[in-house]
Symmetry: C2
DNA sequence: GTAATTTCTTGAAGTAGTTCAAGTTTTTGA
DNA sequence: TCAAAAACTTGAACTACTTCAAGAAATTAC
């Protein structure tokens, strides 16, 4: 059974057998235990993570000491801090496993070398990044135009299973309201 | 004098003279008058715009009929709706010139063909999209962690000239507060 | 140059959310 | 299996912002 990342890549580009071999040889799956961090605030992020199985999140700790989740990643998503990655500057974010997860961690030096050997992969990463940016724009639209309750209901309609999968306080902060208010929304007390 | 987009591209990749010629022949600058739209809500976006000179914005009209700016673009920025562009679905956004602007408009069919002829350009668009996504993540962080006044001051410190360049009500909506509140922040009445 | 339009300002009243604190329930891991 | 830790709930008090309405100032375009 081949590396699951290859299925994802081949949704966007076609790979030659030799290219598949090269990727198989470079890309190993590793397990990140629940609550384990792969990036801490202040570190320079020089790794991209492809999530094979599980759930990761990017979060910050705000001035009141509360965690706020900026991004979740599940199966077939990439997660990293692209700004730290590209500019070699300390990250503003934590990246952590929400569930014990299988990921493919690719260091920048390795990826740069793979991209030179298989230039075709540039297209894959271009499309992944462009779609992610498009999704971020929609996320900002929802944050701007919907009330807290509307954001919760919209998210629940779009991702009914995911709502069960993560602690409510993480989802509340992702939707930009407090854990207490989430409780009241769910109880119909708003 | 060569097409200004070439300077931007060559910050990230090296182009051969023949590739420069090809790009010069495909890419023309057009002028978008102030307030003119290049994308309306509901249209399918099949063009990317590179801003040579001027200022564009992406915005929505919310349920109260008020415009809310999600993104500004200035010199050397790309602006488009990537989700509509990639998925061929109707856009949620308007894209409009804030100032009369010079842009290079590239249709998807043309760009796809250029990318086949100059695969190296994939890297350029990959990096542009990854950096844009990184910037969007930071934007969400600021929206989550700062008060309205902090967001205004932070933006003013980062982009002092830009604050003068656009109507305050547009900047207010970009920073996610009302035009009236912007007025009070600036007057020190908060 | 001036009318028309757009943008900015101000105060008063209202509200969608937060914060706090304490108790309850659920989940985790040895 | 059970103690400890993590997650969820509730109500009361509070606040950072919005909304509205009306007038003033600045900018645009013929």
């Amino acid at each position: 059974m081949q590396n699951p990342i290859l299925n994802h890549i081949q949704k966007f580009i076609n790979l030659e057998p030799s290219e598949i071999d090269l990727l198989e040889s470079c890309l190993a799956i590793s397990q990140i235990k629940r609550k384990e961090h792969v990036l801490q605030e202040g570190q320079i992020c020089n790794t991209m993570y492809f999530i094979v199985k599980g759930c990761m999140r990017q979060y910050i700790i705000n001035s009141k000491g509360t965690e706020q989740t900026l991004q979740f990643g599940v199966e077939n998503w990439w997660i990293t801090d692209y700004l730290s990655y590209h500019n070699h500057i300390p990250s503003h974010f934590y990246i952590q496993a929400v569930e014990t997860s299988d990921v493919i961690a690719i260091e920048k030096s390795v990826l740069d070398s793979i991209l030179i050997q298989i230039p075709k992969l540039e297209k894959y990463f271009r499309i992944v990044a462009q779609k992610a940016f498009g999704a971020a724009q929609m996320r900002i639209k929802f944050l701007f135009t919907m009330s807290a309750e509307e954001r919760y209901n919209h998210f629940k309609n779009q991702q009914p299973d995911f709502v069960q999968r993560v602690p409510q306080y993480m989802l509340a902060s992702y939707l930009d309201f407090s854990a207490e208010f989430m409780s009241k929304i769910r109880a119909g007390k708003v």
